[in-house]
Symmetry: C2
Subunit: 145 residues, 2 copies
């Protein structure tokens, strides 16, 4: 019998989808930690730097949309990346409310040291290429609108 048998069965941890999702997310971030320590980055700072490696310059709102984070999370995060000299704050000409952050040379050079990380992480995650692709598709279904 596979299906839950009484009205409370559905409340057991083992039948939840959210729980392994939540655990797997934390577990993967845990596996990044020793690799990112070498770059003096946390996981959230790492994905933020990915955005800057790609886009060079972003305001808080654009970054928030890319990373699905709000200013309550990003403000202190950016302050910390700024303190580490990986990004710099510049003021917008056209709108004084806007705060633009640009990647620094030091932030760019960090990319050289990060370039091996995707391979290293792939080696720590026990999924085949096809399974990873499948997982990607399923996660995106959860995320779409």
């Amino acid at each position: 019998m596979v299906k839950p048998m009484n009205k409370y069965e559905a409340l057991k941890l083992k039948y939840q989808l959210c729980f392994p999702l939540y655990c797997a997310s934390k577990e993967v971030i845990r596996r990044y930690r020793p690799l990112l320590e070498r770059l003096n980055l946390t996981y959230t700072q790492y994905i933020t730097m990915m955005a800057f490696w790609e886009y060079k310059s972003l305001n808080v709102k654009e970054l928030g949309k890319l990373l699905m984070l709000d200013s309550g999370t990003l403000s202190p995060l950016l302050k910390s990346l700024e303190a580490k000299k990986f990004v710099a704050r510049v003021k917008s000409e056209k709108d004084n409310r806007e705060v633009i952050f640009v990647i620094t040379d030091e932030g760019e050079s960090l990319k050289e040291r990060a370039v091996e990380i995707p391979q290293e992480i792939a080696g720590c995650i026990s999924l085949s290429f096809d399974e990873a692709k499948q997982l990607h598709v399923l996660l995106n279904k959860i995320l779409e609108k």
Copy 2:
């Protein structure tokens, strides 16, 4: 062309598996929030109560193993569930270091109000039954040591 084309392509957000995993986990927790608010529970408190609904009585170590959380997270969490009278602290007879938490009547009655949540959440997540099962399998692969 599907594969990354220069040595930095692999550092783009869109090629990461960790990132949709991290976003999907937060997104699912976000969808629980309005449902759990009615029970005066956060998501982490909810999965903790799931453990107590099933096991009635647990010490911090057992709970940590079930939920993959350490005492640094669980101590304040249990203090809060205790303040809400959903669990109570009892002292162990056989080992004075151990702190046992037991579910209260109020904690048990919360289960009645939680019983609809799994169905409600399933309705908010755009995955078929089969897709959810697939996802479960893939996530467990990541989690298995």
